[in-house]
């Protein structure tokens, strides 16, 4: 019965909620402002953290094992090694590079003089063929390199050695640190919002006791406050979304030419909309829960 009454009165409750926001003027504005500030903070730091995370993954993905095959092994024979590399656990992909290909790459990397010099070797290629191995988890680089080393005809493996390992480790700690930071900040921000809403509602304690006095059921009292919390959350997330939209597009456009492709920022669309959705969700969700909890305290008989 109570539920039916709540649904039937939903438009009225919405109206009451808006009326409350309007008539409580300063209190509502301060709540909305608190939501705005915290969400802007979350948005900015979250977006930065997500992009840094992306970059670290991109960098990690570009880390590969370079496998040199013995010089005397012919291309066709070398290619037969490919399956045994692929069999190793943790190997994501293996790309074969023939002797000629290797020489092309070498010539490419030289200056003019060098190019002329190495062109000479076209006829009698002294280089061996090679594999470029990508791994699933960069932490396994060292182990997999060792295993490949033990295969027949493998001359040498190179994954950058110690420096790569420490790079992987530091990227990992940047990611984890960022995640913890964002999570911590989000929790603090949410507490701030919930607290502001709590103050708003506590100041209306008498109002709730009067409603109880004239026989309003608990849900009848609660619903407008919950809706009010949601509306405050939504109103508070408008500015952060605008900041995100214009700020991020501007940063993206100006960064496009500056950053190397490996460190590219996420495409603004649909990234901005996803973030906007999260912000609205956070704002209204916290508004809802905050007001629900605060009202509950005054509804105990």
């Amino acid at each position: 019965m109570e539920l039916i009454s709540c649904i039937k009165n939903f438009p009225k409750h919405c109206k009451t909620a808006f009326q409350n926001i309007w008539r409580n003027g300063v209190m509502s504005v301060s709540s909305i402002f608190a939501v705005t500030i915290t969400l802007v903070l979350i948005a900015v730091i979250g977006v930065v953290a997500i992009n840094i995370q992306d970059m670290t993954y991109d960098i990690e993905e570009s880390l590969t094992i370079y496998v040199k095959i013995d010089r005397e092994v012919k291309d066709e024979d070398a290619q037969k090694i490919q399956p045994s590399i692929e069999e190793i656990e943790g190997v994501k992909s293996v790309e074969f590079s023939s002797k000629d290909n290797e020489l092309d790459k070498l010539i490419e990397s030289q200056n003019e003089d060098g190019k002329k010099l190495f062109e000479e070797y076209r006829k009698n290629n002294p280089l061996g063929s090679a594999f470029v191995v990508e791994v699933e988890d960069t932490k396994q680089l060292e182990g997999i390199a060792e295993k490949i080393q033990q295969l027949d005809h493998v001359n040498d493996t190179n994954y950058g050695g110690e420096s790569t390992s420490s790079l992987v480790e530091s990227l990992e700690s940047v990611r984890n640190g960022g995640a913890i930071f964002v999570a911590g900040l989000t929790i603090i921000a949410l507490f701030m919002i919930a607290n502001t809403i709590k103050i708003t509602i506590t100041s209306r304690q008498t109002e709730i006791s009067i409603m109880r006095m004239v026989g309003a059921s608990n849900w009848y009292i609660r619903l407008p406050y919950m809706l009010e919390g949601i509306f405050i959350g939504i109103l508070g997330s408008i500015v952060p979304i605008l900041v995100l939209y214009f700020g991020y597009t501007a940063v993206y456009d100006s960064a496009a030419g500056l950053l190397p492709s490996m460190m590219a920022l996420r495409e603004p669309i649909p990234f901005i909309w996803q973030c906007a959705g999260i912000l609205v969700g956070l704002g209204s969700g916290v508004g809802l829960i905050g007001s629900f909890v605060s009202v509950r305290k005054f509804l105990k008989f």
């Binding site: 109002e207 006791s209 409603m211 006095m213 004239v214 026989g215 105990k300």
Partner: protein, 230 residues
């Protein structure tokens, strides 16, 4: 209409506010409840509208055993009772009309009927021209009239007034008491007025219950403060 049987209320702090109280108030009665501060008057009426639960004994109001009502059902029980307070307790952000209408809105009364009943009640208390004012724009006496209108708009069986004249000057107090009497006569509502005001009790001779130390000291149906033990 109101019946207490061996009711005792002991607060968690150990204070025995109501001690083995027995009382019987019939429908349509007008009763004054008097007594010194701390005698247990407030606890007595809080027991009636289920703000407090009796530690032992039986409280029956409007045919319902109050102590047996589940917490969730308390709001529905309260629709049978109108309560008026010393400090008016109006919703500050709602107009006079909205304040009075609120009592009916929570019971899902159709809008047309709400309008009709609120208007009629505001006429009864003499505030039909203040319907769109906010409480802070009214005088104390006017605010108390709004509070009374709110309490009676859904025609409750019992009207409890806790020191309704405590914040008002003598002339306004008289008006309020006369209004309560009129409601008692017109609607046959059982009216319970808690008061400190000796003059009022002397002037309007009604049944008067004197509470002292959590017990009923005297219960005079003839009325008058000084007719009792004093």
């Amino acid at each position: 209409m109101i019946k207490l049987e061996n009711v005792t209320k002991i607060y968690k702090t150990g204070v025995r506010a109501v001690n083995n109280m027995n009382i019987d108030i019939g429908p349509g009665e007008f009763v004054y409840v008097i007594g010194p501060t701390g005698a247990g008057k407030s606890t007595f009426i809080k027991l009636l509208y289920r703000e407090e639960k009796a530690t032992s004994g039986r409280v029956v109001v409007a045919g319902q055993d109050v102590s047996k009502i589940k917490n969730r059902k308390v709001p529905y029980f309260r629709r049978n009772i109108g309560v008026v307070f010393q400090n008016f307790r109006l919703l500050p952000k709602k107009t006079v009309f909205e304040n009075v209408a609120f009592t009916l809105e929570v019971t899902d009364t159709p809008r047309m009927e709400i309008r009709k009943k609120v208007r009629r009640t505001l006429e009864l208390v003499g505030l039909e021209d203040k319907a769109n004012a906010f409480p802070h724009e009214l005088s104390g006496g006017q605010q108390q009239r709004v509070a009374i209108a709110r309490a009676i708009v859904n025609s409750p069986k019992v009207l409890i007034a806790d020191e309704p004249t405590g914040n008002l000057d003598p002339d306004t107090s008289t008006e309020i008491i006369e209004l309560l009497e009129r409601i008692n006569e017109l609607n046959h509502t059982t009216v319970l007025v808690v008061t400190h005001d000796k003059e009022i009790v002397q002037k309007y001779k009604k049944r008067t219950i004197l509470i002292e130390d959590g017990c009923i000291k005297t219960d005079t149906s003839t009325g008058g403060y000084l007719n009792g033990t004093h």
